[in-house]
């Protein structure tokens, strides 16, 4: 019965490369790895620019200049623009991080931004007679409510029917987008024949502090708030436990459903605030471009920052520098928009790849001692 197997001995060596889980690295080593990833990213990006026939150093120079150095008339204009990019990205990433801490895959940042913006715009368009502080407060509150309720829908289905929140939140993004299209073409259309919505009144626009709308104050406040909420409140503790293990949360006597609904409402509400700020602080109108892809970009930022609110702010800023700077580089060097997309992609690839190496390592087959 087993005769044939006796002679059947394989002579092949061991596998060439294996992926193995690493022991947890010390913080210093992790940062060294990240620094290496950053340098490699710069090098690989430079290689790409060189292949495009551009001098990498000039290209990077334009990125930095574009993000930080303004015009002669207004030397702060560029850095202001970079920060304006940073604000919604930070706020949305903070909002999403609440959901992710609970392992609720909220991919619906876009939709929540949009609905927040729609709700705020309604008051900006039709109740602009109200005094500015009152109007802005109302816009803020309904923006938050709108985003929160939009997020609450998939959460309710999740706790009631255990639906998949990833697909649900993703689909709601498109519904939100088409709501704006409907408003542009229908009830809120400003000029017949064009799909656009009127500019909002002065009374509905956010005031500015040092050249930037006061949205940055919200952002700074939210960083502190989310940090405190996650790490120093009972709610924050509940979120961590539910995220880690729902059976454990049940066992500890937590009301898991309430915690999910509450947290996701808050997550959506924060994204909704970002929508309100975008309308009242920058666009001064509502268009389909209100979210600017931030709802998706925020997912990357939140995870790259490992859900730490302070790191989220830093990562958002780095992303914004890249975003603003490459726009300038693109025009200065006469590159297509796609090539800057490739450059950003290369840099991001190294950043994300680095996190893989923090946790895993390759093991190469060792040479045999004998034979």
């Amino acid at each position: 019965m087993t005769g044939s197997s006796l002679t059947h001995t394989k002579k092949s060596g061991e596998p060439l490369v294996r992926i193995a889980r690493r022991n947890e690295l010390s913080t210093g080593k992790v940062w060294l790895l990240r620094l290496a990833a950053f340098l490699l990213a710069i090098a690989a990006g430079g290689l790409f620019m060189w292949m495009m026939g551009k001098n990498p150093l000039t290209a990077y120079g334009y990125i930095l200049k574009g993000a930080f150095v303004g015009s002669k008339r207004n030397p702060l204009s560029s850095i202001q623009a970079t920060i304006i990019f940073t604000i919604p990205l930070t706020i949305v990433s903070l909002g999403l991080s609440l959901a992710y801490k609970m392992k609720f895959w909220n991919i619906g940042g876009e939709g929540q931004i949009i609905i927040g913006a729609v709700c705020a715009t309604y008051f900006a368009l039709f109740h602009s007679y109200l005094p500015k502080p009152i109007l802005l407060t109302i816009m803020f509150v309904v923006g938050a409510l709108g985003g929160g309720i939009w997020a609450l829908i998939p959460a309710l289905f999740k706790v009631r029917f255990n639906t998949n929140e990833t697909l649900f939140t993703l689909m709601l993004n498109y519904i939100g987008l088409y709501i704006i299209k409907y408003l542009e073409n229908g009830p809120w259309r400003a000029t017949p024949g064009f799909a656009n919505i009127a500019k909002i009144d002065e009374s509905a626009r956010l005031p500015q502090i040092s050249g930037i709308h006061i949205g940055w104050i919200f952002a700074v406040f939210l960083i502190g708030f989310i940090y405190f909420y996650l790490y120093h409140t009972k709610h924050g503790y509940e979120i961590s436990v539910v995220g880690e293990s729902q059976p454990t949360a049940h066992y500890a006597g937590m009301n898991v459903k309430t915690i999910i609904l509450r947290t996701i409402f808050l997550s959506g509400a924060i994204c909704g605030i970002a929508g309100m700020i975008q309308v009242a602080g920058i666009d001064y109108t509502l268009s389909t471009g209100v979210s600017g892809g931030v709802g998706f970009e925020g997912i990357t930022v939140a995870w790259l920052a490992q859900l730490n609110p302070f790191v989220i702010a830093v990562v958002s800023f780095v992303f914004s520098v890249l975003e603003k700077g490459s726009r300038v580089m693109q025009t200065e060097l006469g590159l297509s928009a796609a090539s800057t997309g490739v450059l950003q992609g290369i840099i991001l690839f190294f950043f994300l790849g680095c996190e893989f190496f923090v946790r895993y390592t390759f093991v190469f087959g060792k040479r045999r001692a004998s034979k």
Binding site: K10, N23, T233, K234, P247, A252
Partner: protein
């Protein structure tokens, strides 16, 4: 069929995972026609070693000879080709298929025209080794022991003459274990080489010819079974002499703390998990629960802790019915009950959190509203590390990095600190080494002396008989009877576990 004398020869096998040395220069040889027991505590490297034979891991250094030839095993396929068959603790069978289909699966012999030859061949093997099984029975209709038989038949059919069994008795009743051993001996007599991985001494002594003992990744000794005894083996396994007796302190009989009356619970699939279950536990008493895995033990614990919906019946805690109360209400109502679940890191503790944050799990709601107060938890964590001798780098180390024994001490410590009147523990020593196990027994006995009522779900019948005052036996969610642990025998429990009820006269009545 020519056989070489030495079936497997491992020499100088070393395997590391990061900085952890799982196997350190291990030597092991297994002859054809021999049963070798690989004995060692959890984490001593038994399974790692065998996984290298089955092709799941590759050793860092050392050589493997199979039947005299040096080999390199890179995949389970290579392992099969060498005639090595592994029976895992968790069966790898397809439920909806029959035994025959499972055996044929993946062998390329499933084509119709070869069906007839395979039939005779499977039947021939099953007859030769005494593996009695209905080949056309579906797996989902089978008992655990039947499934195991199918697994064994499967590897034999695939041509294995070297069998590795990883903790094969963990899920069996004493009678089924005897039957398994009979099969193993028959296989040995037919010339198979058999490695049985276990940490149960009595099984080692009952079935093996030689024993190789592993301790902390090293092979410390190989002894001939007939020339050794339990205490010598324990000493080799643990590294120092251990007293193998569990204390059962006498306590004053106190009024009932928990009364369960006609309890009926359905499991997540809607099937009856518990049926008409009634029992009481008094203060200062340990009530053991025995039963084959999956007989309703988990549901019983979760029902009492308020985690499962209860279909019928009542659970009286100090004469108050707690059916329908949520876990939070049960905690809030001042019912000091502690449930130490089976799945420690999946339910009782948060694996990624440190000891301090795990202390907070049931008490975080206390104190000021909104803000989380870590201070008392930190004090408690430090106290536990100190009193229970928990070995951890610090109280801010995630509990998943602690060893099984220390994890259990954290969990048990937290529950005991809440001064419960009722303690529910499910498999509290599973995965622990001998010393840790005895620490846990001592802790439970201490609580018993304090007048706490303890429900102890166990798997090792020897431990149940020594530690508990009374033992309730579950079979398919039904109460087979409650026996006095001092008078009961293992055989009696075994029969009850397979569905024979205890009569009023204390004798077992055959149901059939």
């Amino acid at each position: 069929m020519e056989k070489t004398e030495v079936a497997i020869e491992l020499s100088g096998i070393t395997k590391t995972f990061g900085t952890v040395i799982a196997n350190d220069n291990i030597d092991l040889s297994v002859n054809s026609g021999e049963i070798i027991a690989l004995l060692g505590e959890n984490g001593s490297g038994k399974t790692t070693l065998m996984n290298m034979l089955s092709g799941l891991y590759h050793p860092d250094s050392g050589t493997i000879h199979v039947k005299g030839q040096q080999v390199s095993i890179n995949s389970p396929k290579d392992s099969f080709a060498l005639g090595i068959g592994m029976i895992h603790q968790h069966f790898k069978l397809v439920d909806v298929l029959s035994a025959r289909e499972n055996i044929l699966m993946g062998t390329k012999r499933i084509a119709k025209k070869e069906d007839k030859t395979s039939k005779s061949s499977i039947e021939e093997i099953s007859k030769r080794f005494g593996l009695e099984i209905d080949l056309d029975k579906k797996i989902y209709d089978m008992s655990v022991s039947e499934k195991q038989t199918v697994e064994i038949l499967k590897v034999l059919y695939r041509g294995a003459d070297i069998l590795i069994l990883d903790e094969p008795t963990a899920v069996l009743t004493p009678q089924e274990i005897d039957k398994l051993f009979l099969i193993l001996r028959k296989m040995r007599d037919e010339g198979c080489a058999i490695v049985i991985i276990t940490h149960k001494l009595n099984e080692v002594l009952a079935v093996s010819d030689r024993v190789t003992i592993l301790r902390k990744g090293k092979s410390v000794a190989t002894v001939i079974t007939s020339e050794t005894n339990a205490s010598q083996l324990t000493e080799l396994m643990v590294g120092k002499p251990v007293v193998l007796a569990i204390d059962r302190p006498d306590t004053e009989k106190e009024p009932a703390v928990l009364e369960v009356v006609w309890l009926g619970v359905k499991n997540s699939e809607g099937a009856n998990a518990l049926n008409d279950l009634s029992f009481t536990i008094s203060g200062g008493e340990i009530l053991g629960v025995a039963g084959v895995a999956g007989s309703g033990q988990k549901e019983l614990c979760e029902a009492i802790a308020g985690l499962l919906k209860i279909k019928e019946g009542a659970i009286l805690y100090r004469k108050e019915n707690i059916v329908g109360k949520s876990p939070a209400e049960i905690i809030k109502a001042g019912i000091s009950m502690s449930f130490i679940p089976e799945d420690r890191l999946g339910m009782g503790l948060v694996a990624s959190m440190d000891i301090t944050h795990n202390m907070l799990l049931k008490s975080y709601k206390e104190g000021k509203p909104v803000i989380l107060n870590r201070k008392p938890a930190r004090v408690l964590a430090e106290k536990l590390v100190d009193t229970l001798d928990i070995s951890t780098p610090s109280i801010s180390t995630p509990v998943r990095k602690l060893s099984g024994g220390n994890v259990q001490k954290v969990l048990l410590g937290r529950e005991i600190q809440s001064n419960p009147q009722l303690l529910i523990t499910a498999y509290p020593v599973r995965g622990l080494d001998i010393n840790s196990s005895y620490t846990i027994y001592d802790l439970l006995n201490e609580q018993k002396k304090r007048g706490v009522a303890i429900l102890f779900i166990g798997e090792d019948l020897d431990v149940l008989l020594e530690l508990c005052d009374r033992i309730l036996v579950l079979c398919h969610g039904e109460n087979m009877g409650i026996v006095d642990a001092g008078k009961a025998t293992k055989e009696m429990l075994g029969l009850m576990m397979t569905g024979q009820k205890l009569g009023r006269d204390g004798e077992i009545n055959d149901r059939q």
